[in-house]
């Protein structure tokens, strides 16, 4: 998000707050859930959750990873059944038994994971849910994707676009209550902004939205009130006003708060000794039509950020560096040696690990947390023999602790909350002690507390001499972790910023591929940009 929006949003938000606070006192809630309980054996997903949403309200649902947000959304929309609790819709008690029931009652969800059936094309998916195609198309265009072909098979569509399609599908049936579970988490800034606008308009037109996000900027720009969950229990409902973030974090994290107070990073500190040979040297890399000509170096001990709008070739760049797809031209060097990766195993042997943006690509969902983290240990032929269980356990456990993974439901990764699944994908490579980590949006869906921990972790890795390539769709992360930022547009590197200059407006401008001439308003920054080496 650009700074412009942020500032404007605060005003707008205040204004709405004053306009509506009277209304809030008098109107009846559109949706009112109380005492919702859901347990899975010994795991208590929801202990005592309540949520009350007024007409025309954008209501944030907040909580740490595993607090029970997604579970509550699934219960409200009939995807799973609660053990106990009352749900009133427009004042009437309703037993929502299935998503179809919920839909009839005007409740439409966008769940945390993409919900189009991967093997069908978009049109058939729409048929399945009886969605009006024209309205859907209009919304897709409105949400910033002009060229969707509804004959495309869902499997081939990038994650960010899939999320937008899910949203458009929900919007197309004009729901009274829209439930968005981390809708913006996988979206690059330009798409995220469109979503926020649409959500605001929903609110303004008297419909309600339940909005789940771990990004405070979005919450304060968008929401009227917030319900905070902790360990499956509603611990508070607050009006969103300037400065309320602190309180929310406090409520969210409870006892965990101290851990997060440590702020993570001053980029300058990380100015580590660079030897002459870069860890990773990429020259004129091309992949099909998406990645046209990318060259950059990644030094030992460096965290380099990659910033790009949706579909500018960043997916292909990461996949090619990870050995997952073959480049059609250019060279990759590791420690000065040219390499050709025919399989991810080759990249891994060269010490390069890849955390893909879509966690479902990285996880074996029916297997345990432990097996998922330990998977790379057994991959090579020479490691097919007996596993030393004690050694494996200690490596896995320290990675789990490091990332604060909630292991109550560890028997199957699919039972973990979205954020905890995400942590498993990172923990795997921490445990494997990879020399170079390619992280594609690694903090997607991770709560504020753990995010700090991950920033810190990445910095520590860099301090140990490891190198990290870090794509993020959340621009504010850049300044927290990176030493340098590479901006990609149209499959080319259009700019390289030292982190000091990489504020959000500057990044946004570069990400839109605006030519250097436009940068006059950034003054002296312009000529620093042209020098290739980042650190002062």
């Amino acid at each position: 998000m650009s700074g412009r929006t942020e500032g404007g949003a605060v005003e707008r938000q205040q204004e709405r707050f004053w306009n509506e606070s009277n209304a809030i006192l008098t109107t009846n809630p559109l949706l009112d859930a109380t005492g919702v309980v859901k347990t899975y054996g010994a795991v208590v997903a929801l202990r005592n959750a309540s949520l009350s949403v007024l007409p025309g309200e954008v209501h944030a649902l907040m909580g740490a990873n595993g607090a029970g947000k997604s579970t509550l959304v699934k219960i409200l929309t009939g995807a799973i059944r609660a053990d106990a609790g009352h749900i009133l819709i427009r004042g009437e008690a309703r037993d929502v038994r299935s998503p179809a029931d919920a839909r009839r009652a005007g409740l439409l969800p966008v769940y945390q994971e993409p919900s189009l059936i991967p093997d069908l094309d978009v049109a058939s998916n729409l048929c399945l849910t009886d969605t009006p195609v024209e309205a859907f198309r209009a919304w897709v265009r409105e949400l910033g994707i002009p060229d969707l072909d509804i004959r495309d098979i869902a499997r081939d569509i990038p994650l960010a676009v899939l999320r937008v399609l899910d949203l458009a599908r929900a919007l197309a049936v004009e729901p009274d209550v829209l439930l968005l579970d981390e809708m913006t988490a996988a979206l690059p800034a330009n798409l995220a902004e469109r979503v926020l606008e649409v959500v605001r308009r929903q609110g303004d037109s008297g419909r309600s939205v339940i909005f789940i996000s771990h990004r405070f900027v979005e919450i304060s720009a968008l929401c009227d009130r917030a319900t905070v969950l902790r360990d499956g229990e509603t611990v508070g409902v607050v009006d969103i006003e300037p400065g309320v973030e602190e309180r929310i974090v406090e409520m969210m994290l409870g006892a965990r708060i101290e851990k997060t107070q440590r702020t993570a990073h001053q980029a300058s500190q990380a100015a580590s000794p660079r030897d002459s040979r870069p860890r990773l040297g990429v020259a004129n890399l091309r992949v099909g039509t998406k990645l046209n000509d990318v060259s950059f170096d990644l030094a030992n001990g460096e965290v380099a950020g990659v910033v790009a709008l949706e579909g500018q070739g960043q997916d292909e760049l990461f996949a090619a560096l990870a050995g997952s797809i073959r480049p059609s031209g250019g060279t990759i060097e590791v420690d000065g040696q040219p390499v050709k990766f025919a399989h991810p195993a080759d990249a891994i042997r060269a010490g390069i690990a890849y955390v893909p943006g879509d966690r479902t690509e990285a996880l074996t969902m029916q297997r345990s947390v432990r097996e998922n983290i330990a998977l790379p240990f057994s991959a090579a032929l020479r490691n097919w023999g007996p596993i030393s269980m004690a050694q494996e356990r200690s490596r896995v456990v320290s990675a789990i602790e490091r990332l604060q993974i909630d292991t109550r439901a560890q028997r199957e990764v699919q039972r973990l909350s979205g954020g905890n699944q995400q942590k498993v994908t990172i923990a795997r490579w921490i445990a494997a002690e990879a020399q170079t980590i390619l992280c594609f949006d690694p903090t997607r869906g991770i709560d504020v507390g753990t995010k700090q921990e991950i920033y810190k972790l990445l910095r520590e890795l860099a301090d140990q001499g490891k190198s990290v390539l870090f794509y993020t769709s959340e621009l504010e992360e850049v300044q927290r972790v990176c030493d340098r930022v590479i901006v990609i547009f149209g499959g080319r590197v259009v700019d390289v910023f030292p982190v000091e200059l990489a504020d959000e407006p500057a990044l946004m401008r570069a990400a839109y591929g605006l030519p250097r001439g436009v940068k006059v308003d950034v003054g002296i920054l312009a000529d620093i940009h042209s020098s290739p080496v980042a650190k002062p």
């Binding site: 609790g85 690509e361 074996t364 297997r367 057994s378």
Partner: protein, 326 residues
């Protein structure tokens, strides 16, 4: 905040949850029920001799079901196990006329390795669907065996005494076949749970793409898997001929579909990624007891098969409902 009393979770759901966490328990219960029914229908039938017999017949089925379990974990299936078992049994029985038994056994296992290799390369490298691939090699194998039969028709066949001893013999009332089966079973269970290879079978079957990103080379895993499966099938053939004592060109064929059924009943998913061998062993026992049960009912063969099929369907559906938890 609401003050709704938190109701206790109903007993039914708690029970279901309990079962879901321990999928072996409902299987064992079913096995016990079948044995009790058998005892009621024919009092006195369940004795030491019956037990030994049941185990003897369950073992070949259980080993073949082990092949299915391992291949099914990767989302595959091995329909060639019947042909491979038959081949190795038949070849061994005819070769042993002219060769030392050890040599005959080695010769007999060669086609098993070859078929496994072809299966593995077909599935792992050329990405032929396992069903088609193993069905194909199974047909080819049967054809080859028929050709081979012509060439040895004059020399006859015999069964080495120690295989008969292993297949049918008892020591203090305990079937000797356990001498072969227990190590194999332990090996399979340990491989699945405690080795890198076992982990990879699950990983590849659950999400091949994720395994790939972790550096797993699919073709290696799959080739090794189908070779192992085939060798196990070959060994089963040798054991089975010791039990049946009559070499024929369709010796082990009737075991193929039951071996798939045993693995499925035992809780291994045909879609890959979940299951294990202990369940399969109990599945094989259940099927064997069920066969006895239907035999003593003295129904016509056709009706018996229909009933067998229906019961397998019903049990599998019920079992999946029990262990699946929503």
């Amino acid at each position: 905040m609401s003050t709704t009393a938190i109701q206790p979770v109903p007993f039914g759901r708690r029970l279901k949850r309990f079962m879901a966490d321990r999928p072996l328990i409902p299987l064992i219960i079913l096995l016990v029920i079948l044995v009790v029914v058998l005892q009621i229908l024919r009092p006195g039938i369940v004795n030491e001799r019956w037990l030994a017999n049941t185990i003897k017949f369950a073992i070949p089925l259980a080993i073949l079901a082990g092949c299915q379990t391992m291949t099914m974990l990767t989302g595959g299936i091995d329909l060639s196990v019947g042909t491979v078992a038959t081949m190795s049994a038949f070849i061994m029985a005819t070769q042993v006329v002219n060769h030392d038994p050890a040599v005959a056994i080695l010769i007999a296992l060669v086609p098993a390795v070859l078929i496994g290799l072809v299966n593995g390369i077909g599935v792992g490298v050329f990405r032929v669907h396992p069903l088609i691939m193993t069905l194909g090699t199974s047909l080819i194998g049967t054809g080859c065996l028929q050709v081979y039969q012509r060439t040895v028709i004059a020399s006859g066949a015999k069964i080495p005494p120690f295989l008969a001893w292993l297949g049918t013999g008892l020591t203090y009332g305990v079937p000797n076949a356990l001498l072969l089966f227990v190590p194999i079973a332990v090996l399979i269970v340990l491989t699945l749970n405690r080795t890198g290879f076992g982990r990879l079978l699950y990983a590849v079957g659950d999400n091949e793409g994720a395994a790939r990103l972790s550096g797993v080379r699919y073709w290696q895993v799959i080739t090794a898997l189908y070779v192992i499966s085939s060798v196990l099938a070959g060994i089963t053939g040798l054991l089975y001929i010791g039990l049946i004592k009559a070499p024929s060109l369709s010796l082990a064929e009737p075991l193929v579909l039951p071996s798939v059924a045993a693995a499925v009943i035992g809780g291994t998913s045909i879609f890959g990624g979940r299951g294990g061998y202990t369940g399969t062993i109990i599945g094989a026992l259940i099927l064997t007891v069920l066969t006895t049960l239907l035999t003593i009912l003295q129904m016509p063969e056709g009706a018996r098969r229909i009933l067998f099929g229906l019961i397998v369907l019903f049990v599998t559906a019920a079992y999946l409902r029990i262990i699946e938890d929503r």
